[in-house]
C-alpha cells in the first residue's frame, strides 16, 4: 500500500514535470546602432555583396549630415559622412536612399532650389569603387523649375543605377493660377553621375507618396500611388519591356477616392520574376495593409492578401524569402502608440504569426521603418522617439523564427 502511494505520487510528479508545449520565442536581437543622437530617416539597402544603412543627423539648428554605415559580420561599422548641408529639405517621409553596385555607391539628398519651403531638387552623391571622396550635388534632373522633386527609389542596374522619382516640373503655377500634376520620371545613372534614358513614366500621380522599384528578369518596374482625374489613388505599375515603358496599369482596384495626401507609398521586393508589393489603402475609410504577388515580373498580379485591417497605419516594407514567401512589415496604431509588426505571407494567402518588433511613437516623427534580408537574417532599422529625442535603432531576427 505504501509503495503504491509512493508510486502514484512519483507518477504524478513525472506527469506534471513533463515539458510544456514549447513556447514560440521571438529571437529579436537589438544591435548597436551606428547612428548618433538626433538621427532619423533610416534607409536600408542590401544586395548580394553589401548591406548599408543611411540616415541623417541634425547638428545644431540648421546643419544636417547624411551618413552611412556598412554591415560586416553582423555588426554595423563606424559611420561615415557622405555630405552635409544647411539648405536641405529634410522630411519625415521623403528620405535619402543609398545603393551599391560593384563597389560604387550612390545616395541622394533633397536640396532647396529657392528660399521657398517646397521647391527642392534631387541631388546625387556618388562614390566610385576604389575612391574615397564623394562627388556631391550632382543633378538628377535639369528642368530648373522651383518645384518639388523627391520620393526617390534607387537600385543597382547594369553597371550603374536605376532611379525613379516624383517630379513637380508641371506644378508651377501659371499666370492664371493653374498648375499641372505631379509626374513620375525615371533615368539610368552611371557611377560617375551621367544621366541616361531619362523619361516621363506617368503624367499625373499622387503628390506625396513614395515610389518603389524593382529589377525583374524582364527589366525594371516602378510602382506608385496613381491619381485619376476623379482623385482615385490606387497602386499602379509601369514596366520596361523590350526597350519601351508600358503604359501605367492598375495593380488592384481598391478605389480609394481621396482628394488628399496619404503620404503612404508602396514597397516592392523581387526575386527574378517573382514580384511582391505591399501597400496601404483606406478605401471607404477602412485602412488596410495589403500584399500582392506576381510571378511574371508585374505583367499580371494575383489577388491581394489583406495583412492588416485593424488600425493599420501602413508605412510598409517587404522582402521575399523565396518565390512563395514574403515578409511584410507595417505600423499599426495601438493605444495612442504604434507597433512595428512583421508577418510571413505565403503566396496562397496563408499568414504566419504576427510579431511585434517595436513599440513606436505613432506620430510622423518615427517615419518609415526599414527591413532587409541578409542571408537567413532580417535586419530592421527604425526611428525611436520614446525619449523625445530622435534616435535610429536597429535589430535583427533569424528567418527561422518567423
Amino acid at each position: 500500500m505504501r509503495y503504491t502511494a509512493v508510486f502514484f505520487l512519483s507518477f504524478l510528479l513525472f506527469l506534471s514535470c513533463k515539458p510544456e508545449p514549447k513556447k514560440e520565442v521571438a529571437l529579436l536581437q537589438t544591435m548597436l546602432s551606428p547612428a548618433g543622437s538626433s538621427s532619423s530617416l533610416p534607409f536600408l539597402f542590401s544586395n548580394d555583396d553589401t548591406t548599408l544603412l543611411s540616415w541623417v543627423e541634425k547638428v545644431g539648428d540648421s546643419l544636417t549630415e547624411l551618413k552611412y554605415a556598412e554591415l560586416l559580420n553582423d555588426k554595423w561599422q563606424e559611420p561615415k559622412l557622405i555630405h552635409q548641408g544647411t539648405d536641405w529639405f529634410v522630411n519625415w517621409a521623403d528620405f535619402p536612399a543609398i545603393a551599391e553596385n560593384k563597389g560604387s555607391l550612390i545616395s541622394h539628398v533633397l536640396k532647396k532650389s529657392t528660399v521657398g519651403t517646397y521647391s527642392y531638387d534631387v541631388k546625387l552623391n556618388l562614390l566610385q569603387a576604389g575612391q574615397t571622396e564623394w562627388k556631391t550635388d550632382v543633378p538628377l534632373h535639369t528642368d530648373g523649375t522651383p518645384t518639388e522633386h523627391g520620393f526617390v527609389s534607387v537600385l543597382p542596374y547594369k553597371d550603374g543605377f536605376f532611379m525613379t522619382w516624383l517630379d513637380g516640373r508641371n506644378t508651377e503655377e501659371d499666370a492664371d493660377g493653374n498648375r499641372g500634376a505631379m509626374t513620375l520620371r525615371a533615368a539610368e545613372v552611371s557611377v560617375t553621375g551621367e544621366i541616361r534614358n531619362e523619361i516621363e513614366l506617368d503624367t499625373r500621380i499622387c503628390d506625396c507618396c513614395q515610389t518603389t522599384a524593382a529589377i525583374t528578369t524582364n527589366g525594371p518596374v516602378v510602382m506608385y500611388r496613381n491619381r485619376s482625374e476623379e482623385e482615385v489613388r490606387d497602386m499602379s505599375i509601369v514596366r520596361l519591356q523590350n526597350g519601351s515603358w508600358t503604359a501605367p496599369k492598375m495593380v488592384y482596384d481598391d478605389n480609394w477616392k481621396i482628394k488628399g495626401c496619404p503620404v503612404n507609398g508602396p514597397k516592392a521586393a523581387v526575386l527574378k520574376n517573382t514580384l511582391a508589393m505591399a501597400w496601404f489603402t483606406a478605401a471607404t475609410n477602412k485602412p488596410k495593409v495589403k500584399l500582392v504577388f506576381s510571378s511574371d515580373g508585374g505583367a499580371s498580379f494575383d489577388m491581394p492578401i489583406v495583412v492588416s485591417k485593424a488600425n493599420a497605419m501602413g508605412r510598409v516594407d517587404v522582402l521575399l524569402l523565396n518565390e512563395d514567401e514574403a515578409i511584410i512589415s507595417w505600423m499599426e496604431a495601438h493605444d495612442k502608440k504604434a507597433q512595428l509588426k512583421i508577418v510571413k505571407v505565403t503566396q496562397d494567402g496563408t499568414l504566419g504569426k504576427e510579431q511585434v518588433i517595436a513599440e513606436l511613437d505613432a506620430s510622423r516623427k518615427t517615419g518609415f521603418p526599414q527591413i532587409e534580408k541578409v542571408g537567413n537574417k532580417i535586419y530592421f532599422a527604425w526611428t525611436d522617439y520614446s525619449t523625445n529625442e530622435s534616435q535610429i535603432k536597429t535589430a535583427v531576427i533569424s528567418t527561422d523564427a518567423l
Binding site: 505504501r2 505520487l9 521571438a26 529571437l27 481621396i258 510622423r364
Partner: protein, 170 residues
C-alpha cells in the same frame, strides 16, 4: 519513518521541482486593438502662443476642426473656401480650428506667408488618434461636443450644399 520521509521528499519535489525556470523572451502578443473611444476629446492642442487648448474648451459652440499640413497641397487649396465658409457661418455659432502637427514656428511662418487668417492650433498627438489616413481631414462637432460629421480630403467648403450641411449640424 523512512516512508514518511520519502513521501515528504516527493511532495516537496512536487511543489517546487516543477516551478517555472527563468522566462525566455516570450513572443509578444499581437492583440488586435480597437480605436480609443472619444480619443479626440482627450487630445491636446496648443495655440500659437503655446497655451494648451482642448476641444472641450469650445463646448457650447459648433466646431469645425480641420487637420492640415504646410506640405499638403490639397489642404492649402481648400483654405480659401474654408475662409469663405467661416464668413458665411459667422452668425451660426461656429468656430473654425485648423490643426497641424508641425511646429508652431512652421505654422506661424505659413500664416504670415499665405495670409489665411484662421485660428491655428498645433496638434500634439498622432494622426492615428483620430484615425486620419490622409490630409486634409475635417471633423465637425455639435454644440455639445459630439462628433457629427467627418470629411476626408479637400472639399469646396463654400459650396451651397456644404454650407447648408454645416448649418444643419445639431
Amino acid at each position: 519513518m523512512k516512508f514518511k520521509a520519502t513521501l515528504f521528499a516527493i511532495c516537496l519535489l512536487f511543489c517546487f521541482g516543477c516551478k517555472e525556470g527563468p522566462k525566455e523572451a516570450e513572443q509578444k502578443e499581437t492583440n488586435l486593438v480597437t480605436a480609443p473611444e472619444n480619443s479626440e476629446v482627450l487630445s491636446t492642442f496648443e495655440d500659437l502662443e503655446g497655451n494648451l487648448v482642448e476641444l472641450s474648451d469650445y463646448k457650447g459652440k459648433r466646431v469645425l476642426l480641420n487637420f492640415w499640413a504646410t506640405w499638403c497641397r490639397p489642404c492649402i487649396e481648400e483654405m480659401p473656401s474654408l475662409l469663405k465658409a467661416e464668413a458665411a457661418l459667422a452668425n451660426e455659432n461656429y468656430v473654425f480650428v485648423l490643426a497641424s502637427d508641425q511646429s508652431i514656428e512652421k505654422i506661424k511662418a505659413f500664416k504670415e506667408k499665405k495670409g489665411f487668417d484662421f485660428r491655428y492650433l498645433k496638434f500634439n498627438g498622432a494622426m492615428a488618434d483620430f484615425a486620419i489616413n490622409a490630409l486634409p481631414a475635417t471633423f465637425i462637432y455639435n454644440e455639445t461636443g459630439e462628433l457629427i460629421q467627418r470629411i476626408d480630403g479637400a472639399t469646396a467648403w463654400d459650396s451651397p450644399e456644404i454650407i447648408n450641411q454645416l448649418k444643419a449640424i445639431k
